[in-house]
């Protein structure tokens, strides 16, 4: 019994050592099996390291590796276009993207070549093209991308006048920025490719300066409005004047035709009468005279006729006038 007390061999173990070993081995096998598979998403590529040394790059799907941490996989989203904003931040992307109201002058304020100040917001889009380079060449990747992007935009804006940055050079800046950024990133072996540089808001500094710039736009509108007013007046009046001119000429033409035709008519009538008159001068003459008088008297009833022998006519006339 004393032997039983001191010797562990005689203790009634809940499991036999054999069972423990088997359990351990099974656990090891399960752990090994689990750690020898890894998944790679369709949008990713995986870089596999064997004892920290680069071994291979694998594509999407279920892949195998040597278990127990001997091989490690690092998944890199190589198909996803990533966006990085400068001078603004996106709060919640969506159908109507909400932008954070914060301002980032330390990113967006720049000096232009004519020593003015301008506020530029932009975004870059990039894709990781070389996952191995992306993982192992540069330490502070995001910071590096931000630094280069900012520096490149500063250089490009610094080489142009504020007006051309606001206007004609906009697309050129975006193009140049993409080229220069890619050149720098290639130099560092960052393993990314900038696919687009989008210039967002380019505005003069907020407040009074911006108001002054807007006032120029307004002034430009005012200028066009004033010119149009003048032009409108001109377009309203000149055709009218042309019409009036044409009218005056038409009236004159009418007068001319009337005058000449009348003369022709008068003369024709005279000549016809004259032809007859030649035949019997005295008779025609007195007939014409009498006809004329007849016409005059028959048209007017208020003619006073005074006898040639009457000496004092006036009182009578007055009396008659008074009774009316």
């Amino acid at each position: 019994m004393s032997e039983r007390d001191v010797s562990p061999r005689n203790v009634n173990l809940p499991f036999k050592p054999r069972t423990i070993v088997i359990v351990l081995v099974v656990l090891a096998i399960v752990a090994g099996a689990l750690s020898s598979f890894y998944m790679v998403d369709q949008s990713e590529q995986a870089v596999v390291l064997t004892f920290g040394k680069f071994s291979r790059i694998t594509g999407p799907g279920l892949n195998m590796k040597v278990p127990f941490g001997i091989e490690k996989n690092y998944n890199v989203p190589t198909q996803i276009i990533q966006t990085m904003p400068f001078g603004y931040r996106t709060e919640r992307p969506g159908l109507e993207t909400i932008y954070s109201s914060g301002e980032y002058p330390e990113e967006s304020l720049m000096l232009t070549g004519d020593l003015n100040i301008i506020d530029v917001q932009w975004a870059i889009q990039y894709r990781i093209v070389d996952p191995r380079a992306w993982l192992f060449n540069v330490e502070y990747k995001e910071q590096t991308i931000r630094d280069i992007s900012q520096s490149v935009l500063n250089v490009l804006v610094g080489d142009r006048t504020i007006l051309s940055v606001l206007g004609s050079e906009r697309s050129n800046i975006a193009q140049q920025a993409q080229i220069l950024m890619n050149k720098n990133f290639d130099l560092y072996g960052l393993g990314i490719q900038v696919t687009t540089v989008q210039l967002k808001n380019i505005v003069p500094p907020k407040g009074e300066v911006q108001n002054a710039f807007e006032d120029v736009n307004k002034a430009e509108q005012d200028m066009e409005r004033l010119i149009n007013e003048g032009l409108e007046e001109y377009n309203r009046e000149i055709p009218k004047a042309r019409g009036q001119a044409a009218q005056a000429i038409q009236i004159a033409e009418g007068y001319a035709a009337e005058r000449v035709n009348q003369a022709r008519g008068d003369v024709a009538r005279f000549l016809s009468v004259y032809d007859e008159y030649k035949e019997a001068k005295e008779a025609t003459r007195s007939r014409l005279y009498i006809e004329m008088m007849e016409e005059i008297f028959s048209k007017s009833q208020e003619t006073d006729l005074i006898d040639r022998g009457l000496d004092n006519f006036l009182p009578l006339k007055n009396l008659q006038g008074g009774t009316q």
């Binding site: 070549g113 910071q143 250089v155 005012d222 007046e233 208020e302």
Partner: protein, 328 residues
């Protein structure tokens, strides 16, 4: 059987202890390591993989082999013309000589402190030696880009008004820069690079991330921008006023000349007609002047007499038979 289990267990414990003590270590891609034994460097590893070291006595110090960033605080520096600007620079660097790095600075934090001194001073020196435009601009590209006016305005004669000249934005000439920002960065780099290698560090580049005016300078620049814009706005409005008045003047001019030309033409037409009529009547008169006069007179009486208030004497040819059947 039980003996075997004990032996196995002991072996396993020893193996675990051995591995835990660490004769092996893994050096990842992008890492490098200095192995020290009692403080002295015994080995340097710069390639990735499974590495061996003496357990217990050896210590492994890992450093990144990647390109690292250095981000300085913006500095307020006067340029050669004594204008104060904030210059924000960053640099990229890497540890190229881990032994030397271990010996001279040991930690990355220390390295940053050393670089702050070196790079800040070289940035300060170079900026202070150069004019503002050398730091702001990179090239003379600015003089090749036309400052195009946004609108094309035509005057009443159809000539395009040269807005750019008119608004005081004529193609300005900017003093050429001799070096430009890129060159300044390189000069900063050249200065810094003379000092940096003694820390086992290789500088990749120094870049100017941002240049800003100091606050008081910003205020005066804002004022200048505002007055410039006001001038331009004023100019646009004056052009508008001027053009409007010009249009109205052109209107008045054309209207008058159109109407007076019409008057001239119509009077000519009338005159010609009058002449023609006169000629026609004269022709008739020539046939028999005396009769024509008589004819014309009775025609005229016919027209005019009925309108008069008449008091006639019977002492007229017409009434000759009124007093006597033989006339008179």
């Amino acid at each position: 059987m039980k003996k075997l289990v004990v032996v196995l267990a002991v072996l396993a414990v020893i193996a675990i202890l051995f591995i835990a003590a660490g004769p092996f270590y893994v050096l990842q891609e992008g890492e490098q390591a200095v192995v020290t034994r009692f403080g002295a460097i015994v080995n340097t590893n710069i390639t990735a993989g499974l590495k061996f070291k003496m357990p217990v006595v050896d210590t492994v110090v890992k450093y990144p082999k990647k390109i690292l960033s250095w981000d300085g605080n913006p500095q307020r520096i006067p340029t050669a013309e004594n204008q104060f600007i904030w210059v924000d620079t960053t640099a990229r660097w890497k540890i190229t000589d881990p032994d030397l790095f271990y010996a001279s600075v040991t930690t990355i934090t220390n390295a940053f402190a050393r670089m702050d001194d070196v790079i800040d001073s070289s940035v300060r020196t170079i900026v202070a030696e150069n004019l503002l435009r050398e730091a702001v601009r990179n090239s003379n590209y600015i003089n090749t880009v036309p400052e195009v006016p946004e609108t094309v305005i035509k005057d009443p004669e159809g000539n395009v008004i040269e807005i750019e000249v008119a608004v005081g934005e004529e193609q300005r000439f900017f003093e050429n820069v001799e070096k430009g920002r890129q060159r300044l960065s390189e000069e900063m780099f050249d200065r810094a690079v003379q000092v940096i290698p003694q820390y086992g560090i290789e500088l990749v580049d120094i870049i100017i991330r941002q240049i800003r005016y100091s606050d008081d300078l910003t205020a005066s620049v804002y004022n200048r921008m505002i007055t410039e814009r006001n001038k331009v706005a004023q100019r646009y409005r004056s052009i508008g006023e001027g053009q409007k008045v010009e249009w109205l003047g052109k209107l008045d001019n054309e209207k008058r000349s159109i109407l007076s030309r019409a008057y001239e033409t119509s009077e000519q037409i009338r005159g010609r007609a009058d002449a023609e009529a006169t000629r026609i009547y004269a022709e008739a008169a020539r046939v028999d002047a005396e009769f024509y006069e008589f004819w014309r007179s009775i025609e005229s009486y016919r027209k005019t007499l009925p309108q008069f208030r008449k008091t006639l004497s019977t002492d007229m040819d017409y009434f000759q038979y009124l007093h006597s059947m033989n006339g008179n």
